[in-house]
């Protein structure tokens, strides 16, 4: 039980990354592939946050004077993930707009039926 609790966040992030990769590799619908990429992104974000976590410590915000500097978690991964989430939304929207164009052009979302994507 203790083992599971200690590694829960790593399992969650690794699981999300693997599920996302499976979707990207196996599914043929373009929208599903983009959702898979979003899964990978979420997994990476959770991984970064959980690496920065330190047991029993609080957020690195000294909103009151009685918080000890030796009592806070790592702020750098949180600062990275903060911007990565918003950029993820914008890039997801860009990818979906490209999918809209691909659908208009080919009348299908199936990557195996789009001739331009074959080599």
């Amino acid at each position: 039980m203790n083992f599971l609790f200690n590694w829960m966040y790593y399992f969650a992030s690794g699981g999300l990354i693997l599920v996302g990769l499976y979707i990207v590799l196996v599914k043929t619908n373009l929208i599903k592939i983009i959702i898979g990429i979003n899964f990978i992104e979420t997994g990476v974000n959770i991984l970064l946050i959980s690496i920065g976590y330190i047991k029993g410590r609080t957020a690195p915000i000294f909103s009151t004077t009685d918080i000890n500097p030796a009592d806070v978690v790592d702020p750098v991964p949180q600062a990275l993930v903060l911007t990565a989430i918003v950029i993820g939304v914008a890039v997801l929207a860009l990818a979906l707009s490209i999918v809209i164009r691909v659908y208009k052009h080919n009348k299908t979302l199936d990557v195996t039926k789009i001739k331009g994507l074959k080599w």
Binding site: Y10, L18, L82, T83, R101
Partner: protein
Amino acid sequence: MRRVISIIILLIIAGGLILAFSQIPFGKNKINVANYYIKKGIEETGAVNIITSVVLNYRGFDTLGEVTVLFIAAIGLGAVLFVERKVQRKVSSNKEDKIKKASLILRTGTQLLFPLILLFSTYIFVHGHLTPGGGFQGGAIFASAFLLMYLVFPKQSINKKSSSVAESLGGLIFVGIGLLGLIFSGHFLANFLPKGVPRTIFSAGIIPIIYIAIGFKVGFEITVIIDNLLERSK
């Protein structure tokens, strides 16, 4: 066949991930570079939220790059969807009657909540240096208010020109303050304003100004993205 090969690949990747994760202890103290930020952050930047001081002061240049990525994504979306817009207009005229009116609950709730959500987002990005939050989160909340409005009144849209002016102004303020830092302190994005007393709203020098600019920039960018995607689907 493809499924089997991809499961084999995934198993290999899973093995690699497990090997890597087993080397990283969970919940142990691994802080290295951030020790400096935690100990000196308040006195050097005046911001009590160390994450904000990392985002906008120690790694402000990095954030400028990330804001640029966001800007390019929004522009790219506009460019990708722009080409067919004229053709789309003709078709949409008879389709528009089919759009269902939003329910009474959604309409009334949105009309009541819209100013409150805007107020809350403003609180989030003005207090970025004091409490959890900041420009990126506040901007996302800002855009969510407009998303609600789009759900209720799908035929109307925001003023494209003024929203793009506000968006560009946000980016220009960010770069301009960076250049002012170059003039006054000799470093790009240097914190040249007085730091003030920590835990008060007028503290932390340039950080609140930049975060307000980022808040409006992100908010209007996501709103324009929503607008472009909705206009396309009409």
